[in-house]
Symmetry: C2
Subunit: 248 residues, 2 copies
């Protein structure tokens, strides 16, 4: 039987505050939610964590005028390297991290009305810290993805993508692999961390406030067990540099 | 307990030939792969089917020179309304259907070396036909997604997205919904069919030739049971029209 995936929502996170032990809160929530048959967190589990709780724990909250729905706009420019497109109130920019997204990833949902929430300073590092804390406390080797919601050109609707990751190869490189007919594969680099972030969104939802989902059953080859301190990063491996990008 | 998702690869499809009964082949493969505990195909199951087998069954195969890796390029222009970007051999175009993608979705992997495989003429209709055939034979109400692999601007690596769908709302519209703090949600339209296509890719893989995956556990609210003949289409609901697009 081929490998099956299970995607398990992990509710029960407390309201995360600046300085909180986020990894501890995630472990507690997993322990409370997972059933005896699930057997607790296991080697090879992938935890997808919403950017929002990471930013809150890291105090990436900035006071804004609660009565002005555009009071966070100056922050958008501050968090951007370059504006890519602008239409009305909408700004698509390249953030200081290199992501291209709307409003520099800043948003005001699921936070108090007088604050705006910035992206983490370094989401790959945030993921690594959570992973290391879980390894330290439980001895379990997980992978962590910090996920956020981005729009995209040409297609309506948003999907969740990975801002940062740790313990998993962000891009599965199939170059040199053959297809089922023996021809070399043309499409060769699969961004599995974005697919995992999107898959987790399907159980996390936007309105429910479920900040964490567990994906179990991921191919162990996507974890780099021999060099598990550094399997790659989203900012290093997924974010395109300007030279190779046709849409800047 | 919140709803969990299970993603089950369905291997064992035969080599699909023009004119084949694809829906029948999918049902047979599901029957062979699903375990007694899975209980066969069920109402609410989502089947994600690779574009490649749909195109093969619909005879969207065109003869090309097997010795010329670029012999399919004239087809790319023929299948396009407009070239969006061009760099070297790479053409990003808007296809006759409205998708913006590389090489008009035409590729030569997992097909004989002397043919190129075009996208289905109408992937939403293809999905609907498979759904109707399953409903007719098994009496089971499934949703179908026809999935393909697209690149994207700004981020390396490809992910699977939906070319067509039937029986499921392509975009989950959360406008008017409140977040966990009672504020109206800002990000409101989630493209669940793209997230489902990407989730299925995680078990289908590129090299293994697994053309179908089953996603079980999807929120029943995403199916429109009262009007299940028409829940929306990818081309109608997901593909952006040129006026609202900032990147054409």
């Amino acid at each position: 039987m081929l490998r099956r995936l299970q995607i398990i929502p992990i509710p029960g996170m407390p309201e995360v505050r600046p300085g909180d032990d986020l990894a501890g809160q995630i472990m507690d929530a997993c322990q409370a939610e997972l059933l005896p048959a699930d057997g607790g967190l296991q080697d090879g589990d992938v935890l997808v964590v919403s950017q929002k709780v990471v930013s809150k724990a890291e105090d990436r909250l900035v006071k804004v005028d609660p009565n002005d729905p555009l009071s966070h706009k100056p922050l958008v420019l501050q968090e951007s390297k370059r504006v890519v497109r602008r239409r009305g109130d909408l700004i698509i920019s390249e953030t200081t991290h290199g992501y291209v997204c709307a409003n520099a990833g800043i948003d005001r949902s699921n936070v108090d009305s007088d604050v705006a929430c910035l992206l983490p300073e370094d989401s790959d590092r945030s993921a690594r810290r959570i992973r290391d804390a879980i390894k330290g406390r439980l001895g379990v080797t997980t992978a962590i993805i910090v996920a956020d919601t981005f729009g995209r050109p040409w297609r309506r609707g948003i999907t969740d993508i990975a801002l940062g990751c740790a313990g998993i190869m962000p891009i599965l490189d199939l170059r040199g692999t053959e297809d089922a007919t023996g021809r070399e594969l043309h499409v060769t680099e699969v961004c599995v961390v974005d697919e995992l972030a999107g898959a987790a969104e399907l159980v996390r939802g936007k309105a429910t406030g479920v900040a964490v989902a567990l994906v179990r059953g991921v191919d162990p080859a996507w974890f780099d067990v021999d060099h598990d301190f550094m399997t790659g990063t989203v900012v290093g491996d997924v974010v395109r540099n300007a030279q190779e990008d046709l849409f800047r």
